[in-house]
């Protein structure tokens, strides 16, 4: 079987070959970029968050009457709710916070060393106002200093101490000791391990926490619960009823695990990756139909040629391999164009969405997948073509 003859065979039906090559090139381009996007989404969903996502339950809620949204009634409500949920079986720790972790944006602001705003300012750092069990709920490790043990009002003349995460401490103080330093939000009391705060921030691991009741709850507030591993489902089932028993005048926006919250944070990326995967599957299906139809039609058109080859001693196997080889050759040529097209598509997509660049091994893997699909599609018509008998095919001569 000569490569020259295979090329000649393809060139003898130029239009059909060009159409097939275009399809294969576009399919590969789309397939490659879909895989890239799917890989990126997978990576985002699996990046470390610093939290045990499956075993932390988040309740987002708000009092429905204005009188419950002001102090002291609000603080009394927060404590009643915390006591009730803490008493539930399988709840290891419970805390309230003005906002949850793993958000797109929220309550945030500048953090800088007092008197050195120009040099040290870090904008859009999430500000958490929490009850003291917050650190236990997140299972945070204390890396420097000591955690505050008492809640202090934000209106107090002496502002409550500040706890920051490791990444923020490193940015502000490099490797120097940070404890006792005065930040614009208060005295630094402790540095804890990183956790994922807000996606819109400069660094998702930058966070500042103060043990204090929230300023207000106009945007609602969060109750976070650490539960015994594997018991999140059982606990969340009881939460709605327990919280409404404590105070009926509340609206519960949602009850979900932080794993679900994390998934929702990347919902758009996940959705787009899913859509592209479905489209890639459709493209592969369309390519398979095309390869099947092309092989089937040309095997029919070349009955005489195949019959003569068989009469001259060609085995069924060699006919079968020849037909498959034609498709493999076409796929490989199309794939080469496809890699170029994939690069162009990648650049065009990068103008509107965040997508990584093509790497070395991915095109090879995708071409292999395309070859497999084409082989599967051409197998049956190629097998049928081998059944052409030399006598029946040559009788027209």
């Amino acid at each position: 079987m000569s490569l020259y003859l295979l090329f000649k065979g393809l060139l003898s039906r130029k239009v059909v070959t060009i159409l097939l090559l275009l399809q294969l090139a576009m399919t590969l381009a789309l397939l490659l970029n879909s895989v890239l996007l799917a890989q990126q989404t997978h990576k985002q969903l699996n990046q470390p968050t610093g939290m045990d996502l499956d075993n932390i339950v988040l309740v987002q809620l708000k009092p429905t009457t204005a009188s419950l949204r002001v102090y002291p009634a609000l603080e009394e409500l927060l404590n009643r709710q915390l006591n009730a949920v803490s008493a539930l079986p399988d709840v290891v720790a419970a805390a309230y916070a003005n906002q949850s972790a793993l958000l797109q944006g929220g309550n945030n602001g500048n953090v800088y060393l007092d008197g050195e705003e120009g040099r040290t300012n870090q904008p859009s750092v999430p500000m958490y106002f929490v009850s003291k069990e917050f650190f236990r709920v997140l299972d945070s490790q204390v890396l420097q200093g000591e955690l505050p043990q008492h809640s202090v009002s934000l209106d107090n003349p002496v502002r409550p101490d500040v706890v920051i995460t490791q990444s923020l401490a490193k940015q502000l103080f490099a490797d120097k000791s940070a404890i006792g330093q005065q930040l614009n939000r208060g005295r630094l009391a402790a540095v804890i391990s990183d956790f994922y705060g807000q996606r819109s921030g400069d660094n998702v691991m930058y966070n500042s926490i103060q043990v204090a009741p929230p300023y207000g709850v106009d945007w609602g507030y969060s109750i976070l619960l650490r539960v015994t591993p594997g018991r999140a489902g059982a606990v969340r089932q009881q939460l709605d009823q327990v919280l409404r028993q404590v105070e009926p005048n509340i609206e519960i926006f949602h009850i979900r695990t932080l794993a679900e919250q994390h998934q929702r944070l990347y919902r758009n990326e996940y959705g787009l990756a899913m859509l592209l995967t479905i489209l890639s599957a459709l493209m592969l299906l369309v390519t398979m139909v095309s390869s099947y139809s092309s092989t089937h039609f040309h095997a029919l058109k070349r009955q005489q040629e195949i019959g003569i080859k068989r009469a001259l001693g060609a085995s069924k196997n060699s006919i079968f391999i020849e037909l498959l080889s034609e498709n493999w050759l076409c796929t490989l040529v199309g794939a080469l164009f496809g890699v170029v097209l994939a690069l162009l598509l990648n650049q065009a997509l990068a103008q509107v969405i965040s997508i990584p660049s093509l790497n070395g091994y991915l095109p090879v893997m995708t071409i292999m997948a395309l070859l497999l699909c084409v082989t599967l599609a051409t197998w049956y018509p190629a097998a049928i073509a081998t059944r052409i008998s030399p006598a029946s095919a040559t009788k027209a001569l």
């Binding site: 097939l20 576009m26 904008p123 139909v289 598509l345």
Partner: protein, 433 residues
């Protein structure tokens, strides 16, 4: 007509002779068009102009009037403070103007009822005429002063009272008494360009409308963006919120002529220079006057996922077109003998082309049916996977006509080359084959 029916019958016979290649052609073309159409629906609706008659006259002014010297991020704040809006309102140049923001609240008829969570648009009197909001009952507030009056949407009135003629009825809004002064007719501005910050243009219309001054008196904070650039306590909105650098307001002005627009730009420039001279803001002036049709792209709110998918679905449609042409070519080449025979019996090439047109018509009909089904399924899937765009999934007449035209053009393109090749080949060779 009789001849045309004959052509259709011949086409149908051709389909029956080899149904599988034909079905595959229709399937591939339908899937390509359906997927393209599903995404085109979102793309078209998201980029549509909800106020074509006046969108070039509505502008969103922004000033860099903040009490700090910016060092790194010197972009003009997306929202204005109450005092900024007061200063901007003093020009007398715009035909109409309204400041606004949105907040969350709870509504009920009396204290015994369960509260209804509502989205509140806190705004001024001109809002309703600026954006052509239709009234069903009652009238809009006579001026911009504080008043314990709300305007309800038709849906909110029906949800609360079971009827729409509820002007004068009393309500409890977050435990404070308010009176209904008007009820809006059904109204949905999509995309909601008057609130394009933070992708809010993708959201549904608000449930009730409250005067701006009352909103500040009642201490409602924005549920979208609220930034403090000084020590203003945002819990004291009614006092400190009116004087401090608490930014949460959006402001729209109607400037009908180029002269008005130029005059307002000059007014903004003078205002900022005066403020700077008075030492009330140290940053460099960076005034913006954005037209309504540009507001989404200014805020970077264009749906990048839909744009990216548009590129990909276009590529997919091309692949499907090539594929369908390929299948169609195979089908016509298989029938080449029939074409040759008809030509030998005296049929002209133009008659064969008319036959081809009958084929196109049938193919377009089947393809449209398939594309509509695939498009509908595609829209459902996209709504599920990208729920932020769920309000933009409706078909309208323009879209449907575009689909019909596209399906006919695609069917024609798919059939054109194969039929030309089949009917314009050498007669001898065709008969020999």
């Amino acid at each position: 007509m009789e001849q045309f029916i004959y052509y259709l019958k011949v086409s149908l016979k051709g389909i029956k002779r080899a149904p599988l290649p034909y079905a595959l052609t229709i399937f591939i073309l339908s899937v390509g068009l359906g997927v393209f159409f599903a995404n085109a629906t979102f793309y078209y609706q998201l980029n549509s102009d909800p106020l074509p008659q006046k969108s070039d006259k509505l502008f969103f002014p922004m000033l860099n009037l903040v009490p700090y010297q910016c060092t790194t991020d010197c972009r003009t704040p997306r929202v204005l403070s109450y005092s900024n809006v007061q200063k901007l309102s003093q020009s007398g140049i715009p035909t109409q103007a309204a400041a606004m923001y949105s907040a969350d609240g709870y509504l009920r008829i009396n204290a015994t009822q369960p509260p209804l969570p509502v989205s509140i648009r806190i705004t001024q009197r001109d809002f309703f005429s600026l954006f052509d909001v239709p009234l069903l009952h009652g009238s809009v507030w006579p001026d911009n002063s504080a008043r314990q009056e709300v305007i309800l949407t038709k849906t909110s009135a029906e949800n609360l009272f079971g009827r729409t003629d509820v002007v004068g009825e009393k309500l409890l809004l977050d435990d404070r008494h308010v009176t209904i002064s008007a009820v809006l007719d059904s109204w949905q501005m999509l995309p909601r360009l008057y609130d394009a910050n933070n992708h809010n243009h993708l959201s549904d219309a608000d449930d009730i409308y409250l005067p701006l001054e009352t909103g500040y008196d009642m201490n409602y904070l924005s549920n979208s963006q609220s930034s403090t650039f000084d020590d203003t306590d945002y819990r004291q909105l009614s006092t400190q919120g009116r004087t401090g650098a608490l930014h949460q307001l959006q402001y729209w002005v109607q400037l009908d002529t180029a002269a008005q627009q130029q005059a307002y730009r000059q007014f903004m420039h003078n205002l900022v220079q005066d403020e700077k001279a008075a030492g009330r803001h140290p940053s460099e002036p960076n005034n913006q006057l954005i037209a309504m049709r540009d507001i989404v792209s200014y805020f970077g709110g264009e749906s990048s996922d839909i744009k990216a998918f548009a590129l990909v679905t276009l590529l997919f449609l091309l692949v499907c077109l090539f594929n369908a042409s390929h299948l169609s070519l195979n089908r016509y080449l298989s029938n080449q003998y029939e074409f040759g025979l008809r030509r030998a019996l005296g049929a002209s090439r133009s008659q064969l082309q008319l036959q081809m047109l009958a084929d196109v018509l049938l193919m377009a009909l089947f393809t449209i049916g398939g594309a509509l089904l695939t498009g509908y399924a595609g829209i459902k899937l996209m709504t599920e996977l990208l729920p932020a765009n769920r309000l933009f999934a409706d078909w309208d007449l323009t879209l449907l006509i575009a689909l019909l035209l596209l399906a006919v053009i695609c069917s024609y393109l798919v059939t054109l080359y194969p039929s030309l090749r089949a009917s314009f080949g050498t007669l001898n060779q065709q008969l020999k084959e």
